[in-house]
């Protein structure tokens, strides 16, 4: 990344899930660490999210899901990124994701998952490390 380059992250809330506290907390924390965060709000479809991520040329898509809908949203976002030849955009996620599922999601391309109580500093460090 160049001197002037910034890490850009799209924070998205897919589906009908209305729990947006976590997404907002993360958006603010990333901003305060110097990143540019595009917050797209509630009720985004995987198609919306991938299109926005491409237009915004982000390094990361951050999915916040507390409703259980991750089981079909995760694979769909991965699939759409592949279709658009944009699989260099990394996916991270947070919310209510059962621990035992995490390896499975990592395998299909969700790079990292941060559940309730995760420290925002750990998340920032992870993103900064992964961006380089």
């Amino acid at each position: 990344m160049s001197k002037k380059g910034k890490i850009r992250v799209l924070i998205a809330k897919p589906g009908l899930d209305g729990h947006d506290r976590g997404a907002k907390v993360i958006a603010r924390a990333l901003r305060d660490s110097g990143m540019e965060v595009i917050y797209t709000g509630l009720r985004q479809s995987p198609e919306d999210i991938v299109e926005a991520a491409i237009q915004e040329d982000v390094h990361f898509i951050g999915l916040s899901i507390l409703s259980g809908a991750h089981t079909h949203i995760f694979p769909r976002v991965v699939e759409l990124l592949n279709e658009r030849e944009a699989s260099d955009i990394k996916i991270i996620a947070g919310g209510i994701i059962p621990d035992e599922e995490i390896p499975k999601w990592n395998e299909i391309g969700i790079e990292a998952i941060f559940g309730p109580g995760s420290s925002t500093n750990d998340i920032i460090d992870y993103i900064k490390g992964s961006a380089n």
Binding site: K4, L30, R31, V37, I38, Y39, I54
Partner: protein
């Protein structure tokens, strides 16, 4: 994607290529300059609408509705939405897109831009970013400024039609009179007409306009409620009127003036940097010392440094 790949894909109107070029431009990479040089001939074709006004006035919501309308009327639209960078962290939460969900469905291109410390309501590279988006063949580009204060009038240097959005309840008449941004509007919008005070604000604006100097184009005042679409047919009509008023001649004249101004700026900045490097900081500090010791006066010092 390297330079040639980007250029090839730009010619196919590939969205990723445009998005990547935008990143290169905003990071002020040398690569961006090289690409811009090669695509320059394809750019400059869109009509540019600028939207400015105080924070939270409803700019993004208006952009969303206008874009949707324009698309329904057969236009192709690109949007640049600028939000402020935090002066403390250098980061930003770019929230304009949040309000642009209804036009998003139509496949419109929207790019959120952080001001990255640039003053004036835009980012330093906004002009070139518009050119990059024009590679998608859009005939309309809408630019939303950061929530603007009084000095943030840079948008007029870029837009063909500048829309200034005001809302009731922000302050009294006095504040409106001070606001330099009112003078730059080709169209004045009073948004949030569902709120009390909008009639009064419209009357005040009208009064201020009638007290100002008479111009060929007198800005119309349009009342809107962006949350339900009221007033947007009228707003669209006024945009078309202004476009017609500009015609090809006035528009070309206006754009020439801006290019001229911009070129002058760029040249003087480059010359300045070049000369400063030539002189060197050493020379400046040596001279400063002499001035302090009263061995030379500051006026002569400047002359001597420049002459060298």
């Amino acid at each position: 994607m390297n330079k040639n790949e980007i250029i090839d894909k730009l010619k196919e109107k590939n969205i990723r290529a445009v998005a990547r070029l935008l990143t290169l431009i905003e990071n002020e990479e040398k690569e961006a300059e090289n690409i811009l040089k090669e695509i320059w001939n394809f750019t400059g074709k869109s009509y540019i609408i600028g939207i400015t006004g105080p924070p939270g006035a409803g700019k993004s919501t208006i952009v969303d509705l206008l874009s949707k309308m324009a698309i329904e009327k057969g236009h192709k639209v690109g949007v640049l939405a600028v939000d402020p960078t935090s002066p403390f962290s250098g980061g930003a939460v770019l929230g304009d897109r949040l309000r642009m969900t209804s036009s998003q469905e139509t496949g419109i291109f929207i790019r959120s831009v952080a001001s990255r410390g640039h003053l004036g309501g835009l980012a330093a590279t906004t002009r070139f970013m518009i050119n990059a988006i024009e590679m998608l063949d859009n005939d309309l580009t809408i630019v939303e400024t950061v929530g603007a204060g009084q000095g943030d009038v840079e948008i007029v240097q870029i837009a063909d039609t500048t829309i200034v959005v005001e809302v009731p309840g922000l302050g009294d008449e006095v504040q409106a009179q001070k606001a330099g941004i009112l003078e730059i509007g080709d169209i004045l919008v009073v948004n949030k007409c569902d709120r009390p005070g909008s009639d009064r604000l419209a009357r005040e604006l009208k009064m201020m306009l009638s007290l100002g100097e008479k111009k060929d184009w007198m800005p119309p005042i349009v009342g809107t409620t962006a949350t339900n679409g009221d007033g947007f047919d009228f707003l669209w009509k006024e945009i078309k009127n202004h476009k017609k008023y500009l015609g090809t001649d006035r528009k070309a004249e206006m754009r020439l003036k801006r290019i001229n101004y911009e070129l002058e700026n760029q040249v003087s900045q480059k010359l300045f940097t070049k000369k400063m490097v030539q002189i060197g900081t050493n020379e400046i500090s040596k001279m400063s010392k002499k001035i302090l010791e009263r061995k030379i006066d500051p006026l002569t010092a400047v002359e001597e440094i420049i002459r060298e």
